[in-house]
């Protein structure tokens, strides 16, 4: 009861903030509302006993990436003068794609799963579920290769950024 109440509250804040991100004219306010979305999603992670993921969500997304967003918005000094709706074809395409994603989501939610492929029975959680130790163990055994490949991908991105920034030396 208490948990579902908390979930409703956090989900409500997340949705409200997300709508604000889309409809607010001032880019700094939009960025702040996005921080609100990220924080309430972190709260939902905690409700799911995934404290480690919640902490990373706050540190990485809300604490680092969004600060850089704000940094750029402030540096470029974008004023809230851009029109709310882009005209013509862009608007039509945006509407179309949003509709497709919406229908797809509704479809997966409504359609009954084929025999034997439904949602698995809920198992009791292991006692250390969501703890850094448990997550680390899975990450470095089961998902070792995807993890290493991701790290190489990030390294490539870093080097690419440096090369782009220092182009005048080449």
């Amino acid at each position: 009861m208490f948990e579902s109440l908390l979930f409703a509250m956090l989900a409500g804040i997340a949705i409200g903030c997300a709508l604000g991100v889309v409809f607010h004219r001032n880019p700094v306010h939009c960025a702040l509302l996005l921080v609100g979305v990220l924080l309430s999603v972190a709260g939902i992670f905690i409700l799911l006993h995934a404290q480690f993921v919640a902490a990373l969500q706050v540190i990485v997304y809300a604490g680092a990436i969004m600060v850089l967003f704000l940094f750029v918005v402030m540096l470029l000094n974008i004023k809230g003068e851009t029109p709310l709706l882009t005209p013509g074809a862009a608007k039509a395409f945006g509407f179309l794609f949003a509709l497709i994603v919406f229908v797809e989501l509704i479809w997966t939610a409504v359609e009954p799963a084929p025999e034997g492929q439904g949602m698995p029975q809920a198992l009791p959680l292991p006692s250390d579920f969501g703890s850094p130790a448990a997550l680390g163990r899975v990450l470095y055994t089961v998902w070792l290769y995807p993890f290493e490949i991701t790290s190489i991908l990030l390294l490539v991105a870093v080097i690419g950024a440096v090369v782009l920034a220092k182009r005048k030396f080449f």
Binding site: V28, A55, G63, A64, F71, M74
Partner: protein, 328 residues
């Protein structure tokens, strides 16, 4: 949750809050007094014995001052920004252990508000949210100097956060836990400053930068930016920024003590008392730094963070990992 647990939690929250709110004027007084003596002056001495009540008087003065709202300011964000600074600083205080547990009225009472198993990450999260208070304060004032101060501090804090976080990983690897309580307990025999000396040095340098204190106080460099991000703030909003800065000093000192300087452990005297002695020494060190070093230039600051501290912390991390693996 029974009534006793609730009462215990409420009492602890109030004790810690009171400790911070009373501690901040004392630190400010200590800073002015120590700085005064280091600069061959006397420092405050008129209000109360040894000028002890000077900061209280200043606080009352700030309360009474007019709260000025710049006409071009973004009202909501301008109002929110100092609050964010204070809330994140106080939130970080909740996980710092002041001592082991004590028995009172037949209950085992741990001397911290809460002990979550990701305490250290919670702390880093809270400090990383603290950047917003300064950045938004600078932006919402809608004035040149605060904006520059806010931009500087956002870049500075993000850069130094990395090395700060990585320098703490060595300690986490030794204890195998993110709980500050466990880390504190593990240092009964040997303080972690001994095996993790370089990490300690990196952490201290980064924490000075994180709290925007001299010699890293680029966000409010008076000679070039008037007062940086809080130029336009007056009255209690300014006081809140002031409070947040000193509360943040207490937080980073508390983490340094818990992770490197043996937490509450020490001979003869009880645990919490040792914690407060260490805290006072650390804050004195902070003030000493301010009196000693001139402010860095901005490009020097960024180069130092990225080209010296970050590689050094990574080398320390790798060395610790190799050592722990070889030792088994």
């Amino acid at each position: 949750m029974d009534l006793a647990t609730l009462i215990e939690a409420v009492v602890k929250v109030h004790v810690v809050l009171g400790f911070v709110l009373l501690g901040v004027p004392l630190i400010v007084w200590m800073e002015r007094k120590v700085l005064g003596h280091m600069q061959d002056r006397i420092g405050p001495q008129r209000v109360g014995p040894y000028g002890l009540l000077q900061t209280i008087a200043d606080g009352i003065k700030l309360f009474m001052k007019e709260d000025i709202l710049p006409t071009q300011a973004d009202k909501v964000v301008y109002f929110l920004a100092p609050g964010i600074s204070v809330v994140t600083a106080l939130a970080a205080m909740t996980v710092i252990p002041f001592g082991d547990s004590i028995s009172l009225f037949g209950r085992e009472i741990p001397l911290r508000i809460t002990d979550v198993n990701i305490a250290l990450l919670f702390l880093l999260g809270a400090t990383s949210m603290g950047v917003y208070g300064i950045v938004l304060g600078g932006w919402a004032s809608n004035s040149k100097y605060p904006l520059l101060g806010g931009l500087r501090s956002s870049a500075q804090m993000i850069s130094y956060e990395l090395a700060q976080g990585i320098s703490l990983i060595g300690v986490i690897m030794i204890t195998g836990s993110l709980s500050l309580n466990e880390i504190g307990r593990a240092q009964e025999k040997l303080w972690f400053i001994v095996p993790q000396f370089f990490a300690f040095v990196i952490y201290v340098v980064c924490s000075v930068a994180e709290t925007n204190r001299a010699p890293f106080d680029l966000a409010e460099a008076e000679t070039e930016l008037v007062a940086g991000f809080h130029t336009e703030f007056s009255s209690m909003k300014f006081a809140l920024y002031f409070l947040a800065e000193y509360a943040n000093m207490m937080v980073v000192s508390g983490v340094a003590i818990t992770c490197f300087l043996g937490a509450w452990h020490g001979p003869i005297l009880p645990g919490p008392l040792w914690f407060f002695i260490k805290l006072t020494c650390f804050l004195f060190f902070y003030i000493w730094l301010r009196a000693t070093f001139p402010r860095l230039r901005y490009d020097q600051l960024m180069a130092f963070g990225w080209k010296v501290l970050l590689p050094a912390s990574l080398v320390n991390l790798a060395a610790t990992a190799v050592f722990l693996t070889v030792k088994g």
